[in-house]
Amino acid sequence: MPLGPLKSRLPVVGRVLLFLALLFVFLVAIELLSGSMKVAGSDTARSILQGLDNPFAGLAAGILATVLVQSSSVSTSTVVALVGAGQLSVANAIPIVMGANIGTSVTSTLIALGHVTRSDEFRRAFAGATVHDFFNLLAVAIFLPLELATGYMEYTATWLVSLGITGTDTGFHNPATAAVKATAAGIQHGLASLGLAGGWLAILMLLIALIQIMGALYFITKLMKSLLADRIEEWLNRVLEQKGMIGLVIGVATTMAVQSSSITTSLLIPMFAAGVLSLEAGFPLVVGANIGTTITAILAATVTNQAGMTIAFVHFLFNASGAALFLPIPPLRRLPLQCARWLANAATRSRVWVLIYLGTVFVAIPLLGILIWKR
């Protein structure tokens, strides 16, 4: 069927149904990923993830994995599935989730390079993109040591989960979750009936799950953006007219709607570049995008267990803690802005700083981190 007629025939109701179908595919993928770990056996999976006992290796792995897939939603959902399958502890998963936050900010930084031929535009765009990077780097620099010393995020998330907002191991089973589990089991049995077993079955299930997660999130993002583009436009115009913390709310809402912080932050880059959005006004939006993106891991955790939901909540708590610390305190709020401006000025004077920055933060340090700290 040609796509042209379909374009005009797919009404909003159809798109909503399509969204629900894609969400179902996504949740089945999470269940399938957990299942693949169980099929592989504890020893195999743990031997692969063993090196992540070191928090800095975990952080580096989180950055690198997210840079490679260009989506923190994919990497955090995978982490949720691994934690849910019991192959990764919540404590070991926390640095990975923090690394995912840093890794996802590379997308908007790469988009800012599109303005490289016009100095003023590039300076504004690059500052707008890297303010996200610096906020995440500073948040990790503060909260990772704090978490390692106190474990406050894990304790708080565990407490929140104990309140009843939990995964599937609490006795409450809804039909949607049952359908997800049945479908994933059906896929597993289907593959097993082809004669696959053990390691090969686990690898194939893992591959199918990862492709499904990436595909489902890609199409959910596109679909939701298409459904809500007018509303997002209205929200962004409101940010331009009303300064202050409304940006935070709009950042959260936009990202929750499109299921991707990269989409939200990338939308801001042309606005930063054109000079219609100042760094000060855009910063709360970026912080809001960080909080909004945690919804994906929480959704993924609904088909896992309490441990899966705990790491999803840690992801939320980490980003909420960053917002609570940096936004209300002016000297702290200015810090990522000043870092971003400094780097943007340097990058505008000499483009080599762009390569040094991207190569160091998103490639060299994570690779070295894994090599040095992974035992």
Partner: protein, 231 residues
């Protein structure tokens, strides 16, 4: 391949909002023009309309910047499909702003050298101002309804007015002693060339919504050229 996924939002709401604001700009431009030409022709005291005229003109300039910001947001959210509509709006917003600017120039004329003497020139100019005011009003209605046939008829009316102005300028320059008129026009055109060069230069240093506006320039300016906007 998967474009149909993102074809659901036409961006019509945003475009409608911008078009409505543009129509308000045209209305405001007509108000400035009518107030200025009434003062120029001695129908009203310039001081009686000065405050509201400048206030309305400022409102037009504010709308220009607001619309430019909205255009950036709209094209960012809706992507390449929205570019033709956004580029058209970006261009005509400038024209609507210029209508306000020239209204202000006519008001300056009313305060320095009003046309008070009753003669054929005054009669002709009065007729032209009425035709232009009517054209502005019709233009606003036609733009809001996108009536192609009516727009073509109005273009013809606008061309007739332009031709009449050119003929009258030619007559002044050739039939009467051309000294003062030619000097004034020469200065006027020289200023316009310099101003347009200025506008091009602002695109290098100013954000999109502040293009052509001299305020808040990041470079030191000569006090003598410190106009709010170069026209």
């Amino acid at each position: 391949m998967f474009d149909w996924f993102s074809s659901g939002s036409s961006g019509a709401a945003g475009l409608d909002r911008m078009r409505a604001e543009f129509c308000q700009m045209l209305d405001a431009g007509r108000q400035v023009f009518e107030a200025a030409t009434d003062a120029m022709l001695g129908k009203t005291d310039p001081e009686a309309v000065r405050e509201s005229l400048f206030k309305t003109e400022k409102k037009i300039n504010k709308s220009v910047r607001h619309l430019r910001r909205e255009i950036v947001v709209h094209s960012t959210v809706h992507g390449a499909g929205s570019f033709p509509a956004c580029l058209v709006l970006m261009s005509i917003v400038k024209d609507a702003e210029r209508i306000g600017d020239y209204g202000k120039n006519l008001f300056d004329l009313a305060t320095t050298a009003p046309i008070v003497q009753d003669n054929e020139w005054k009669t002709d100019i009065a007729q032209l101002t009425e035709r232009i005011a009517s054209l502005l009003s019709d233009c606003r209605d036609t733009f809001s309804t996108s009536d192609r046939d009516k727009a073509l008829a109005l273009i013809s009316r606008a061309e007739t007015i332009e031709d009449r102005c050119d003929d009258q300028i030619h007559r002044i320059l050739t039939e009467e002693p051309p000294k003062a008129a030619s000097y004034v026009l020469a200065y006027r055109y020289l200023k316009r060339v310099a101003s347009h060069v200025f506008n091009v230069l602002t695109s290098v240093v100013q954000p999109v919504d502040r293009l052509d506006f001299a305020k808040k320039l990041p470079i030191a300016r000569d006090k003598d050229s410190g106009e709010a906007s170069k026209k």
